[in-house]
């Protein structure tokens, strides 16, 4: 199998690491080679964050470069726009419609690009979902990451049981039911 690349982007604190681990744990059960890459430390504090998931027969570089991502899973609308250059020709962006204002917008130096999703749709295949509303419906706004993983799961050729198993191994037992619901809402969206 040729290497497939999924880039997960968002704002530090939104739980992108958990999403990448959820996908990674689902993938290893298929027996393919998997690499995940994360960034810890200062960038986690409300900044733009990126994690990478790559899988295939043999994965070398853990990074996804410009023009290489089969999927970009974005937790925030502006971040989807920022990372568009990483999308492979013919790739798909799955994005949350939520806006989180960055500090230069909060301080009034720059404006939030209100039309970012429309602009994106003119350039790429985009699936936009209000993941925050679905997460709240599942019981917690923090479950945005699992809702979006549920949306992505529709595009990946893995059995439902594999995802359920991955949820069990990745999520603390206390929050398992909530996250199962969040995943289902994403998958059925």
């Amino acid at each position: 199998m040729k290497t497939k690349s999924i880039m997960i982007v968002g704002v530090g604190g939104q739980g992108t690491l958990l999403a990448s681990r959820l996908i990674g744990n689902a993938l290893i059960s298929t027996g393919c080679d998997v690499k995940l890459s994360e960034v810890h430390g200062m960038s986690q504090r409300g900044g733009s964050v990126v994690t990478y998931v790559k899988y295939g027969d043999a994965v070398h570089s853990p990074l996804i470069d410009l023009g290489e991502a089969d999927y970009i899973l974005s937790f925030e609308a502006l971040e989807a726009g920022r990372f568009l250059p990483y999308l492979k020709q013919g790739g798909t962006i799955i994005t949350n419609t939520q806006h989180i204002l960055p500090m230069p917008v909060i301080t009034g130096q720059m404006a939030y690009p209100e039309n970012v999703l429309d602009d994106l749709k003119a350039k790429a295949d985009v699936i936009a979902v209000d993941a925050l509303a679905l997460a709240e419906q599942a019981g917690s706004p923090k479950a945005v990451n699992v809702v979006l993983t549920g949306v992505l799961s529709k595009a990946m050729d893995l059995d439902e049981a594999v995802w359920q198993q991955s949820l069990e191994t990745t999520v603390p037992p206390k929050f398992l039911e909530l996250n199962r619901k969040a995943f289902r809402l994403g998958r059925e969206s």
């Binding site: 681990r21 430390g41 409300g46 070398h60 990074l63 204002l101 500090m103 970012v116």
Partner: protein
């Protein structure tokens, strides 16, 4: 059984399987999880030391006593630990001693981009460099054997993309390494000149033996492809080469100090053109050139700065890059910010208001330099805030009364105390603010000597920042809560006016600590909001403005700091 493991977790697995029983480290991104993961094994004693020098000295002590010992740090931490490192190179070891050092090309979470291989060369200590999690486990185990076989500490170098990537790792059982006999041996362990002079001979001979070992060892390997290009590489760069240039021949070096000679010459002889691909400085390339070999592609084409990637290598070799599109509009950047409810926010708001010069330090509070708080003038290295304050005020006496140092609790314990002693002893008058948020924050919540807990989560002696300051000779020591803006401002004004050294312990726990209770989100009454933007001055990501100010309930943790700034009573619980 295969498991998906972070490079750091795999390194911890390796030391566990190698029978290591002692770990002492200071946290630093991207090295921290090696020690955190090691601490989860009941068979391994693991601790957070106050700094990397203490950690390495403790690990060396454990090694001399006969145990296999490990010590982990980030690249700049190795500067702090350089003193014991350079002499441990002379004493050698008893039980195996491995020093893990994690570089940060691209500076994801660091103040510089130094290449720690220079330390290996200068200290004459062998260095191994894994390229993924599997090798982290393997090389860590092999490093212990290498250490004992050659009677030397061994450096284990990673970088952000190895340390913080996950890949599949085969797990094996632990093999116990019983304590080796300790025999008093001053010639080996007392490095006074009479003993150190002959030990230096031992070191130079050892390097030559290690170089010969490198010609045929499990760390280095040749993967022949076509012979148009031969690429010499190591660590993470190997992965980028394999991805960008799957057809080329590769000499992958896992032992990066000392570098071999014969296998490089043999490899060069088999290929038409030779390239060296290594991040940061041209260490391998310089070695290859010194062998009299021609390097057809290297630093000149690839550059000294930042991280590599597959596209950077494709471009250097003249290969086509994947097509890529972007939006026409310029998008706002999203820099990291202090979290909602962060106790540092109130303090930096006050410092901004007072327009003082701020000598900063390393931690989450370095973000106090960003707009709109913009309250930091310098940030150098761990502990530098107090020394910089002292020197600045000595040559500009008029700055006294208008300048403070800010330093976190863990950073103060790391290397701030000696700066404070210097300031008091040499008749400085500076104001030092110790930002005590009850945890080591930036690296992801590690215990330290001021928190009263060990790495293994056992209660222990809790040191007091106030008492340490008093013991250092500071007479004016006080504590404030940065959430109380008026009290914080008053305290700083009073201490700036005093003509002797002062320490203010600015104390409130990190908002992300699990035991910190939060109030429900605040909200803004739009009828009362006069759009004055006073609440926007604290740079809270939860407060947004669109004609009127509003609070994002998904981000607000109810700290109430903004409420103190609103003159119209518009911000409500």
């Amino acid at each position: 059984m295969k498991k998906l493991l972070l490079g750091n977790a795999a390194a911890a697995r390796g030391l566990f399987e190698a029978g290591c029983t002692f770990v002492s480290s200071y946290p630093g991104t991207p090295s921290t999880e090696i020690t955190e993961e090691a601490a989860k094994f009941p068979e391994v004693y693991a601790e957070w030391a106050p700094n990397e020098k203490c950690a390495l000295e403790a690990a060396l002590g454990a090694s001399i006593a006969g145990a296999r010992a490990m010590c982990a740090m980030k690249h700049v931490g190795l500067n702090v630990a350089a003193d014991p490192l350079y002499t441990a190179a002379y004493t050698g070891v008893n039980g195996g001693l491995v020093i893990a050092v994690a570089d940060d090309p691209g500076m994801h979470s660091s103040q510089n981009e130094q290449d720690s291989r220079h330390h290996a060369i200068a200290s004459k200590v062998p260095m191994v460099e894994p390229a993924d999690s599997g090798e982290c486990r393997d090389f860590m185990k092999l490093a212990f054997e290498l250490s004992e076989t050659f009677d030397t500490p061994v450096l284990f170098r990673t970088c952000t993309r190895v340390a913080h990537s996950q890949s599949l790792v085969e797990l094996y059982d632990r093999q116990e390494a019983p304590l080796r006999e300790y025999v008093k041996n001053p010639r080996k362990y007392v490095m006074a000149p009479g003993n150190a002079i002959p030990q230096h001979v031992v070191v130079e001979n050892r390097t030559e033996k290690l170089r010969a070992y490198g010609e045929d060892c499990p760390f280095n390997r040749v993967e022949m492809g076509d012979t148009e290009w031969g690429v010499i590489t190591s660590g993470i760069s190997y992965q980028y080469v394999k991805e960008a240039l799957p057809e080329v021949s590769v000499l992958k070096l896992g032992l990066v100090n000392p570098l071999p000679e014969k296998i490089i010459r043999d490899f060069a002889a088999k290929v038409k053109k030779l390239a060296v691909v290594e991040e940061l400085d041209p260490i391998i390339e310089t070695h290859v050139r010194n062998l009299g070999l021609r390097v057809d592609l290297g630093k000149k084409e690839l550059g000294l700065l930042g991280e590599f990637s597959q596209n950077r290598i494709r471009a250097a070799f003249g290969k086509a890059l994947p097509e890529s599109v972007k939006l026409e509009e310029q998008l706002p950047v999203r820099p990291p910010v202090l979290c909602p409810g962060c106790p540092h926010r109130g303090l930096f708001h006050v410092l901004h208001k007072l327009k003082v010069t701020v000598s900063g330090d390393i931690g989450c509070y370095t973000l106090g330099a960003s707009a709109p708080l913009s309250a930091m003038d310098s940030t150098i290295c761990m502990g530098a805030s107090i020394g910089v304050l002292h020197g600045f005020e000595k040559v500009r006496p008029e700055a006294a009364g208008k300048m403070v140092a800010v330093i976190g609790d863990s950073t103060f314990m790391h290397s701030g105390m000696t700066g404070l002693v210097n300031l008091v002893y040499n008749q400085g008058v500076g104001v030092v603010l110790i930002l005590d948020n009850s945890i080591t924050g930036m690296t992801g919540h590690q215990q330290n000597p001021l928190t009263g807990m060990t790495l293994k989560e056992q209660p222990t002696a809790q040191l007091s920042a106030e008492k340490i300051a008093e013991a250092c000779g500071v007479k004016r020591v006080r504590v404030v809560d940065p959430q109380d803006l008026k009290a914080t401002e008053a305290a700083i004004r009073e201490e700036l006016a005093a003509e002797e050294p002062s320490v203010i312990v600015v104390r409130r726990p990190c908002a992300l600590l699990k035991w910190v209770k939060h109030r429900p989100a605040f909200h803004i009454d739009p009828d009362k909001c006069r759009s004055c933007k006073a609440c926007m001055q604290i740079g809270c990501p939860a407060i947004v403005f669109d004609g009127k100010a509003a609070i994002d309930p998904t981000l607000c943790v109810g700290c109430g700091l903004c409420q103190q700034l609103c003159r119209f009573g518009a911000i409500c619980e």
